[in-house]
């Protein structure tokens, strides 16, 4: 308790200015649960920051990293049993899902938005539940189409190569990032503005028809079973020439230049470029994975957790982490578009700088509510396209999906 009073009077800045760690209360720990980053160096950086944070906050800061797929069971058990990490990494619209287990962080969100040039629409929509910020936006991992320049020129720059690889399996990343924007680009939407099912329009039908033709024409049929890793390996193994992914393909190719070669024996990284999803009749939209940090309600030290987030999301700390991510993760706020990193970064990575500016949220045009999650985690939208690709008539695929949506949204 002493520590709290101390913090209130002196503040984090005071401690930093003093440059000396306060003796912190024995056993005060702050546990932070995050995913295992796609870029291993990012986790190394966080481990490096932990002692600094401990020093700054006067409490032992401990990071735990687990596979992204395993975050949800941990969160569920933690909220239900009211014990667990103090801060948990949230993906997508999870703050809507776990609203009742989270502490409101309006003050922090206001500060961060003001401090760093305002949130991207997606980041804000995902953490903001009915006007209250239930988590603090941290970063966005944009997904762009990674493609091989040489293969594209072979076929002619206007068409997609015959060797497109698309994940349509049950994954948390790449499959939805493809399926949702495709729906939007053709003018389809899950719900109307009031959150009522609106999938059975022309847009969805056109999108499925497009997908079916595209799948037959150009895609690796294995994609139906792909998870988030398959396309990376298929790409790096030279089996496909284009796929929707985060920057991890490029970064892996760059880090393993001596191992990952193209057909001519040159490092493959020199042949990789990124592009946005092609626009459809209703525009060009994308769906990126947004990340935030939630302060857990059961935690014994919400104040300390918030102080940590203020430190952790502050310009100084974030920029170090951001630099290590090399463009794989971008900020949740617009200020990071102006970071010097973007001037020195490799040409193919530059597309990631402003990638989040055209992203929408699941549940569109309604709010990204818990119901949108149900649709998302039942893979209704992904499976609508998967059914089409497997040969179900487009009308039937849409009808099936709309039926599922009616059950969920009403």
């Amino acid at each position: 308790m002493k520590r709290r009073i101390f913090l209130r009077t002196a503040g984090v800045a005071g401690i930093l200015a003093a440059g000396r760690a306060p003796a912190f209360a024995q056993g005060t720990r702050l546990n932070i649960l995050r995913w295992v980053d796609f870029i291993p160096a990012c986790d190394v950086e966080l481990k490096r920051q932990a002692p600094e944070a401990s020093k700054a906050l006067g409490a032992e800061v401990v990071f735990e990293f687990i596979n992204a797929n395993d975050l949800q069971p941990r969160i569920t058990a933690a909220i239900q049993s009211r014990s667990g990490p103090d801060i948990i990494h949230m993906l997508h619209n999870w703050p809507h899902l776990y609203e009742n287990g989270l502490v409101e962080v309006n003050d922090l969100a206001e500060w961060q938005a003001k401090d760093q040039g305002g949130f991207y629409a997606q980041s804000e929509a995902y953490v903001r539940v009915g006007g209250r910020f239930m988590a603090l936006p941290h970063s966005i991992v944009p997904g762009l189409i990674a493609y091989r320049k040489s293969w594209l020129t072979e076929v002619g720059a206007t068409t997609f190569p015959k060797t497109y690889g698309q994940t349509l399996g049950h994954t948390f990343g790449d499959a939805p990032a493809w399926a949702y924007p495709l729906l939007w680009n053709f003018g389809g939407m899950e719900t109307d503005k009031n959150g009522k099912t609106a999938l059975d329009g022309k847009g969805a039908l056109e999108a499925v028809k497009f997908m079916t033709a595209f799948w037959k024409d150009a895609c690796d049929e294995g994609g139906l079973a792909w998870d988030d890793t398959n396309n990376n390996r298929a790409f790096l193994g030279g089996e496909i020439s284009a796929t929707l992914n985060g920057a991890s393909i490029y970064i892996a190719a760059k880090r393993g230049q001596d191992k990952i070669k193209d057909e001519k024996g040159e490092p493959m990284v020199r042949d990789i470029q990124h592009a946005r999803l092609p626009a459809g009749p209703a525009g060009s939209w994308s769906y990126h994975t947004a990340f935030s940090h939630g302060v857990m309600k059961y935690g014994k030290n919400p104040k300390l957790a918030k102080d940590f987030l203020k430190w952790f999301h502050g310009k100084e700390q974030f920029s170090r982490w951001f630099e290590v991510a090399e463009g794989f993760s971008v900020g949740a706020t617009k200020q990071w578009e102006r970071h010097p990193l973007w001037t020195t970064i490799d040409e193919p990575m530059k597309g990631f700088r402003t990638a989040p500016d055209n992203s929408r949220v699941i549940g569109y045009a309604g709010p990204p509510s818990a119901k949108a999650t149900e649709v998302y985690s039942k893979y209704v939208i992904v499976d609508m396209f998967a059914k089409g690709a497997q040969g179900t008539k487009a009308e039937d695929a849409v009808k099936w999906a709309a039926g599922e949506l009616y059950k969920i949204y009403g």
């Binding site: 069971p73 049929e221 994609g223 496909i240 599922e404």
Partner: protein, 323 residues
């Protein structure tokens, strides 16, 4: 059921202290006389089991049933909704697929495990060179953590890099890749293969242990009577193995019916929700969607079904023993 457990624990709690010693030290006469009473001895022997199970299962189980009857979602206590969750699940097309898949998967995986496991046990029961090594290596699939071995399998079934496809292709058996995990039917069969691969060694080794208890004299007598291999198996071995076999089958059915890890890692229920089992679908609804009530209802669908299956098997087992 609950009452029994509570009663058992209560009446036995006092005697627990006597348990660690009796093997080594000579029991005092009073204690000896006490343990001569069948009912009391039974209470003592059952106490640790009943205590542990009622501590760690009773509450979660009651809680699970309550969840299934409520509209609970993560962080929301919810309220009593009767059987609504069950009705919703039953009207859900994905649930029905998962329900059917679960039966299909359990049936075939169990049949394969039993037949192949029995066969392997009979083979391993003979004397041959390298027996020791072979017996030990047969257990390997059973030992590697399922999650990890399933990753290895997933890679062998990889849509782009499948070594099995490569093998079949080089062998001239196929001209296009087989869609191992990218087609629902193939995917389910792949899961059955992996489950069989993993579970068969245990069948084999347990049945082998059973075979070892059968005196070789019986076989010699039978073969002197002119019985051939099949007859010896059917008339001598099988009747003696039946009790052990049934127990192994019962447990395997339960395990397979509620299998989770394997599908979770191999296909995640995809493509297009075609390979979900009840357990994976319950998990998807309960954990990924946060609808704990509905998830609990889906997983409780397993209970009555399992109960019936097991009851039939146990009835059979009892009749067997009675005969």
């Amino acid at each position: 059921m609950k009452k029994t457990i509570a009663g058992g624990a209560g009446s036995a709690a006092g005697f627990e202290v006597a348990l660690p010693h009796p093997r080594t030290s000579q029991p005092a006469p009073a204690l000896t006389r006490f343990l001569e009473n069948e009912g009391l001895l039974a209470a003592v022997l059952l106490a640790p089991t009943v205590l542990l199970l009622s501590l760690f299962i009773a509450y979660p189980f009651v809680m699970g049933v309550w969840l299934s009857l409520s509209s609970t979602s993560v962080g929301n206590p919810g309220e009593f909704v009767g059987l609504r969750n069950f009705v919703k699940a039953w009207n859900d097309s994905i649930f029905r697929t998962a329900f059917g898949n679960t039966f299909f998967y359990t049936f075939w995986a169990t049949v394969f495990k039993l037949v192949l496991g029995m066969w392997l046990a009979l083979l391993l029961n003979r004397h041959f060179r390298g027996k020791r090594l072979v017996r030990a290596s047969m257990l390997l699939p059973f030992i590697v953590p399922t999650v990890l071995s399933t990753f290895a399998w997933r890679w062998m079934f990889d849509p782009t890099f499948s070594v099995l496809n490569w093998l079949l292709y080089q062998g001239g058996l196929i001209t296009t890749k087989l869609p191992f995990l990218s087609d629902g039917t193939y995917g389910l069969w792949c899961a059955i293969v992996v489950n069989t691969w993993r579970g068969m060694p245990f069948f084999a080794i347990t049945l082998l242990a059973g075979l070892q208890t059968i005196s070789p004299d019986l076989h010699e007598a039978a073969s002197l009577d002119g019985a051939n291999g099949w007859h010896r198996f059917w008339h001598v071995t099988w009747p003696l193995l039946k009790p052990v076999t049934l127990v192994v089958v019962v447990f395997s059915v339960i395990q397979t019916f509620s299998d989770f890890q394997l599908i979770y890692v191999l296909t995640g229920g995809g493509p297009a929700n075609a390979t979900h089992l009840l357990a994976t679908y319950a998990y998807q609804i309960g954990v990924a969607t946060g609808l704990l009530g509905e998830g609990a209802a889906i997983s409780l669908f397993m209970l009555p079904v399992l109960f019936v299956v097991v009851w039939v098997q146990l009835r059979y087992l009892r009749r067997l023993e009675g005969a």
